[in-house]
């Protein structure tokens, strides 16, 4: 492992009761403005027929992947994997709001905040972790479904949970496997419709984004910085809207 620690989540699907305390906790802790969110609970819906029924709830948020597609496309270097803890973070001062990473993330775990013109997503509550606290969503999990910690530390709660588990799943397919750092216990998660998707944009767009945007940015650094950044953001956001 390149980094010192490898932080991530273990989620015991059998214990999620879909209470949504984690959703509200994340919003308040991180001042995520309505209607956006950094965290979801996917309700798989009922399976079976009355009275032989089953229902599972699959919580998710950014998977803090080992090989994050979001970083590969980030042109400004704002998205990075923290070498100390492995968390995938966005430096919002540096983010130009191009939204490429939003398209690239196979789990749709990012959103573009149009009012701030930056991309936002789960930070692993790194500011709480720094203080020695659990992430907000983990600390308040009523069902005891969510765990967070260092997979490189064999004594951590997450490592222990994985060691004890009889069934562990990552949400990956043969085609798309960024080695996500959320490990699921006990649920039929492969049926959830949460399996990673390939990047959404077409080759032409990839080309435009991979070549033209960096070119513009390179240009900016040589010219009137402030004005141009604003202009580029506008340009890109405009294009973003057009696309949808």
């Amino acid at each position: 492992m390149a980094q010192k620690n490898r932080y991530g989540f273990v989620i015991d699907v059998a214990r999620c009761i879909d209470c949504r305390a984690c959703l509200v906790a994340c919003r308040v802790e991180n001042e995520v403005s309505l209607p956006h969110t950094r965290i979801w609970v996917k309700d798989q819906g009922l399976r079976g027929t009355f009275p032989d029924l089953a229902r599972e709830f699959v919580p998710y948020n950014c998977m803090h992947c080992e090989h994050p597609p979001c970083i590969e496309v980030c042109t400004s270097g704002a998205t990075f994997k923290d070498p100390d803890n492995g968390l995938v973070l966005v430096d919002q001062e540096a983010c130009i709001g191009c939204g490429l990473c939003v398209e690239a993330c196979p789990y749709d775990a990012r959103y573009l905040d149009p009012t701030r013109g930056v991309v936002d997503k789960c930070t692993g509550c790194v500011h709480r972790v720094e203080r020695g606290e659990e992430p907000a969503c983990v600390a308040t999990c009523l069902g005891g479904a969510r765990m967070f910690g260092d997979f490189n530390d064999p004594t951590s709660e997450v490592s222990q949970a994985l060691a004890r588990a009889t069934q562990v799943r990552q949400l990956v397919t043969d085609e798309v496997d960024p080695d996500p750092n959320i490990y699921y216990l006990n649920g039929d998660v492969m049926q959830t419709g949460l399996l990673p998707r390939p990047p959404r944009y077409t080759t032409a767009e990839t080309l435009w984004r991979g070549v033209a945007i960096p070119a513009v940015i390179a240009g900016i650094t040589l010219s009137f910085l402030g004005q141009a950044v604003a202009f580029t953001k506008q340009l890109i956001e405009g294009e973003q809207e057009f696309e949808e």
Partner: protein
Amino acid sequence: MTRIGPHVSRRDFLKLGGASVGALAAGAILAPPAAAAARKAGFIDVAGDGTIPTMCEMCVWRCGVLARVRDGRVVKLDGNPAHPHSRGMLCARGQAGLMSTYDPDRVLHPLIRVGPRGGGQFRQATWEEALDLTAQKMAEIRDNYGPEAMIFSSTHNLSQVQFENLLSAYGSPNYGTQRSLCFNAMVTAFLLTYGVEEPARNYDRVKFVLLTGRNLLEAISTSETAELMEAVARGAKLVVLDPRFTKTASKATEWIPIRPGTDAAFLLSMIHVIVTEGLADCEFVKKYVTGCEDIPAAMAEYTPEWGEAKTGVPAATIDRLAREYAAAGKDAMAHPGWRTSNFINSFQAERAIATLNALSGNVLTPGGCLVAESPEAAGIPLGKPPQPAYPRVTSMRLDGVPWKYPLVPLKLGIFQNIREAILSGQPYQAHGWFVSRQNPVLSIPDRARTVEAMGKLDFIAVVDVILNDTAWYADVVLPEASYLERYDPLNIVDHKLFLRQPVIEAQGEARSALWIYKQLGERLGLGEFFQYEDEEDYLRQQLAPLGAELQDVKYKGYLEVPVEEGDGEIVFGTPSGKIEVYSETLAGAGFSPWPTWEEPPAPAPDEFYLLTGKVGQHTQTATQNNAFLHQVEDEPKLWIHPAAASARGIEDGASVRVTSPIGSVVVTSLVTEGIRQDCLFLAPGYGHASKGLRVAYGVGVSDSDLHVTYTDPISGGQALSQTFVTVERA
């Protein structure tokens, strides 16, 4: 809690989002000054930042909260690990609590109605004017018609003790609580059987949990919900009786979609098996249970086959579950439930639950699952301000307790009967209603009748934090400070005294209930019943016998009180001192002394049972205007089974009309396998009447437009599932 502690290298120059961003933009307009008291207490540094322990009020479980404050604004609420009800967690409602405080729809100034009642037109008034007017009207009613013409109603607030003080000092017997719409059946049954209102549950070593309609994973009590999930993860067996596939049912080992109204039959059949097969904890039963020798004879007719005919659950299943329950011995728990206002026979279901627990001997044994000990029995001597004796009340209660309903505890009462008495003018005419933090317009069945009753009153005053539906019909609205802005009387949990204290300054002119009641008392000439300077003085007087300083309690948020160990001798607070499975009291009042079967009414072939129940994101009507909760709630829809739906040409998401004997509503359908074919389900609390609730108004419909008023003659409970309805495409 796991401790995790690295440092983050790029942290210093990073902006990872949040912090300066306006998630609470709405609230930002209302930014209060930094809480001076909190700063004085040392919670908050010069910058206005810090953490203050207090208590949640988003439901009545009252979790301990650690409120994080920045620049005099509360920015995050975390569960207090030191509080047994939160254990470091808060549910969605608790997490969203600060949005209720910063709700742009808060009522922050006293209001006096200017237009017609229910028109929603108010003008801002000073406290002086609003209090003077309220007291003057209350005095007029007392002088003209006697104090009994004034109804007081409020439920389950920590300030309840001072609300009751105002009521008793004023001299009215008419006390309306929400309880008959909720747990009268459970409380009355456990009082009669064990002498305690609500036994505490202990999941430490439970192996078999029987939930009779208790939807613990959606009707959330933070610590208990978490404890149940831990027990299930440990391998405890969870059996859920519910006509609906709730989230609790989805985690159950066995879900029994029992026919509504037949819980008592199922439970009586279990008792039959246990006593006829000699599977009970005989030693315990002989020692502590009345009528022990006669139980088998009294239960003789309730065979599993009889149970099957009533409940639709196979006799073999009842027989097997009874044996499994008995085999778990003291580690089996038949949960008492909470909102048990379902059918007129719900009281008998509760008596059967009380009996099942007695048979397993789990009550009061070390580590036993049911602790039949009242919280007051903790024996903590709290002080209170000196006061004269209350005036003698001689008039009858409007709700018929006890003159028509001898067994309903006075402090529970029968709320729905008060409404009927206003309308009938019998046994006398009521003239005024003082409501505090309660919403009878939406909670009592048959909303149209409740609104009609309000029209007959000369004066209505409402204390609340928000313009709820009842406040919408009020003449005066008195704005209470939110739970993050005020003190309340102390709360005892597990030998600890917990404090609710302000973590921010009250916004606008909102004031605590302790202050409001005292102001009214003084204006009514009842000042000697309110001998406290202010909230802190009240708390100091409460703490005086314990020799504790308020400052210390404020700092920790609680006070641990040493308690004397009991001598191990178990005496139940019943007339016999035993567990009264056989009850002379019931016999004396003309009811069956044994838990017994009462046949409930059933719907006609084209009708449905209309079920109600909770969702995990709301507390009845009170939280629905919270924008954070609104965002995570499911759209309230009418659940209907696919077979019932297709027979009526109803597709999922279709607009349907539901009609009961008293009204009809149009709502969106949710076609789901998760409900019996003869049942419909509607989440309660929606369909608000107040346009002062800008988030909640216009969302969903209210089951109070459909519910027929049916009252259990023993417990006074409202039978909420006894209303039968039809459904058709709208």
